[in-house]
Symmetry: C2
Subunit: 502 residues, 2 copies
């Protein structure tokens, strides 16, 4: 039995190593690769992805899993062996459901659409890619079909990112959230807007990076087991539990971009760095869902990084780093600037309050497209109408409308967006629970003592990796299932004070 289990782990490690190699190739592509490397890199990644898929669907792996399952099931359900076998079976079964021909066809389609989108978006030419997007919807339905029967056609796609989450539950959750957020945004934007001029001065790039990195390190991002590099679209990536990297971008004329991107990605990275080291090189050594991952990045970026408590304790250091630019700017002005709420067109630039509305809109359109209720040709106008209804703004172009996000043009329609809103909800619910465990958390944050919060998250969230589902983690860590209440309470308290709402 031990020998069989060792062989299982060796095969899973082989799959893990191919995935890690592919991740490094992607990191390099986004950071250091010269333009001349692009064509071959695409082929190399396709090869690694295919070989990883081959390893996961190798019948010998399935046989090993069959052999160890009875013994694993006799163990404690929470044991390492039981968890590992359960998660590995899930991965193998999921990979085996989808025919290799479909995987290859979708990869080719996706590459073509992505290439076209990079040209159509700046040209504001949605018509040029609409037929290909319609094909993506069809292929997304086919993918879902591999997992029939299901309650809703979006479920298998959502499950890819947020295992166990269903469309029906999300619809109810998001409808409730939207019903509360729309009037909140209306109330806030009726008040005088915050002045962000203090963030829009000239801030030398190296100084911005140094400050942001110092804060990420204070939060607990371990630079001996990671590093930060520059890229166009910030991301976190992991090659092993000892090598979890973040990337950022810096704008000389915007102090907030590099700072909050760094804190956000550091939140993702701390999650991975704090997974149980015993899980290394197994499928358990990853964040358990995209939504839970997003909760960790949002928590450090927003609940901590945009809080008044944090800046009470750290604004002096920022002023010292940029005395000419911020020396005369009061804390309150800066705090209002980094928390400005506005009706805007672009999701990635949205504030804490409006962000989830951008996400819910996309989720609803994914459901409608998959159900066939909305035709791709009608998407641009539907987008404009919904933006007007929810956010009070109407994009003048599709480039700033339904073509703004890469997701649908480089992957499935379905499951692509819900994680962002789930992450917002979870971040508030976790922070609220941490606050109950450590009532003096705001004082600690002000004092720069992030250890208690980080250890609470480590013990209650991070350490579990994929050994527990997001639902299990939320319930055990916060004492209740996921709800909109902590997030709405957080927004109302913070922005009620900021904008003197009744």
């Amino acid at each position: 039995m031990d020998a069989t289990f060792d062989e299982l782990r060796a095969r899973l490690a082989e799959h893990n190593d191919l995935q890690a190699a592919a991740a490094l190739l992607r990191w390099d592509q986004a950071t250091y690769m010269p333009e001349g490397g692009a064509a071959a890199r695409g082929r190399q990644l396709a090869t690694l992805d295919r070989l990883a898929h081959d390893k996961l669907t190798d019948p010998a792996l399935a046989r090993l899993l069959d052999r160890v399952t009875p013994a694993a099931e006799r163990e404690d359900e929470a044991s390492f062996a039981a968890r590992l076998v359960r998660v590995a079976r899930r991965d193998v079964e999921r990979a085996s459901r989808v025919p290799g021909a479909f995987v290859a066809a979708f990869a080719a389609h996706r590459a073509e659409l992505y290439e076209r989108w990079t040209k159509a978006r700046p040209a504001n030419d949605f018509a040029a890619i609409a037929p290909l997007l319609a094909r993506t919807v069809e292929l997304s339905r086919q993918y879902a079909g591999c997992f029939a029967p299901y309650d809703h056609v979006a479920d298998p796609l959502i499950d890819l990112m947020d295992p166990g989450v269903r469309a029906a539950g999300l619809r109810a959750l998001f409808a409730e959230l939207r019903a509360q957020l729309v009037p909140l945004v209306e109330a806030i934007t009726a008040a005088p807007p915050a002045d962000v001029a203090c963030l829009r001065q000239d801030f030398p790039e190296a100084d911005q990076l140094a400050f942001a990195t110092a804060i990420a390190t204070k939060f607990g991002y371990d630079g001996a087991r990671g590093r930060q590099d520059l890229t166009h679209h910030p991301f976190m990536t992991k090659f092993s539990l000892g090598d979890v990297r973040i990337t950022t971008r810096v704008y000389r004329d915007d102090l907030s971009a590099a700072l909050f991107a760094t804190l956000h990605e550091a939140g993702h990275a701390m999650y991975e760095q704090n997974i149980d080291p015993a899980f290394e090189a197994t499928p358990l050594a990853e964040g358990t869902s995209a939504g839970l991952h997003e909760s960790q990045s949002r928590l450090w970026e927003n609940q901590v990084g945009r809080s008044l408590a944090f800046w009470r304790g750290h604004y002096g250091a920022l002023q010292a780093a940029f005395p000419a630019q911020l020396g005369d700017v009061p804390l309150d002005t800066f705090y209002r600037a980094i928390n400005r709420v506005q009706r805007s067109l672009i999701r990635t630039a949205a504030d804490e309050v409006t962000y989830s509305l951008h996400v819910i809109l996309r989720f609803d359109f994914e459901v409608d497209l998959l159900e066939g209720k909305l035709a791709v040709a009608d998407l641009p106008e539907a987008w404009r109408a919904r933006m007007q209804a929810d956010l009070g703004v109407r994009p003048a172009t599709d480039a700033d409308g339904c073509m703004q996000d890469v997701h649908w043009y480089d992957g499935f329609v379905g499951g692509a967006f819900q994680s962002y809103a789930l992450g917002n909800l979870m971040s508030a619910q976790f922070f609220d629970a941490a606050l109950r465990a450590h009532p003096d958390l705001p004082d600690q944050i002000e004092a720069g003592e992030f250890g208690p919060l980080r250890r609470w998250l480590g013990a209650n969230v991070h350490v579990h990796g994929r050994a527990r589902s997001a639902d299990e983690i939320v319930l055990a860590a916060t004492g209740r299932p996921l709800s909109t209440a902590p997030y709405l309470d957080y927004l109302r308290a913070k922005y009620g004070a900021l904008y003197a709402l009744r």
Copy 2:
């Protein structure tokens, strides 16, 4: 037939892609990887190496080669298909000769010895690693045994680096070279030594890198298909013909280190960048031998980069980059400094004249160790005696003697060193031939016109990749087989003038 050939190419590309991924993991390990990534990176590399070996020894690949061979043999012997099939067969047969169990055992032994060497060398404790080195000698003999029959036990090991080269030929060539070099070194070192003080000032690192990179770019290293990063031990690596990277190191107090390392690695890189693009992702898309590779790096580093013609045209730019340090240093002083010859202990720091003697010594010891004429326990004293005889210096420690190079402690004994001396010989023979084709080459180099030399090398050497052997390339490009004459003539002319020898 076309479909079979396409399938063959697809399988070879898969193997190529695994090797490229492993190369990127090694590049990252030597440039950016945080210390926390080390353990997993070792396992990931072992996985990729094993999977690449599996792909190369897959019986399906051998069957494909069998099927296409008759048609390929009917084609022109110099055709792409004929060359590809010949080189691929060679790779497959070589990989298949060595049992997987041996590969695994040697990898484990090598990792252990390397780890011990990193500690034994600074402690000057040869006795601590002598038994493991003796085991390496035994394993090297076993490896050679997989390729029996052979003329000499070193032949299969030499063949790994320099295909087709045999111990017997090298012995004759190196004996002749040594007989000429020893008295030349004696004559030069009897003259007053060059003063290198001008190189040992404070040179800001960024300025050094900028100058070195500018020269490498002028030589023809294409930065859009490559890049330069910092590391401890400079190297060149390739992920595709469009992504050929170099690395260097910079010392503030030594102007020559980064400069000549950059020109050296750029020489390697230009070779790879100029291989026929039609060879991409096949086994033909590589340098044909380690010796030929070294000839290209040495040619740009020494025949060009340390020549009087080059510095007549470029010393002004160097002075402009470092006016405080070099403004008052005459060209002649600088030229003598970068060409100082001295009796020294360390191969990697040796000058053009003594370098080959360091190499021949190592080659001779490899042969003696493999033949059993020299016991590992007797190596330190044999090293000291031979250094005294050839170079007139005697290392005080084994750290500066037989433990100085990593090669024997991280690979086979046999075949590890001859490439460096072969490269020196070839570099002079190629440069001599280029000079016959372009008699005004020194004037072009002085004028900063490197295109004619680069194109001559491109057309006569680089473009062929592995489609031609080093011997074929030398003969076709220079009109004669490899000999010591051009190199000795070059050294005598250059250093005769520098040291006013009779």
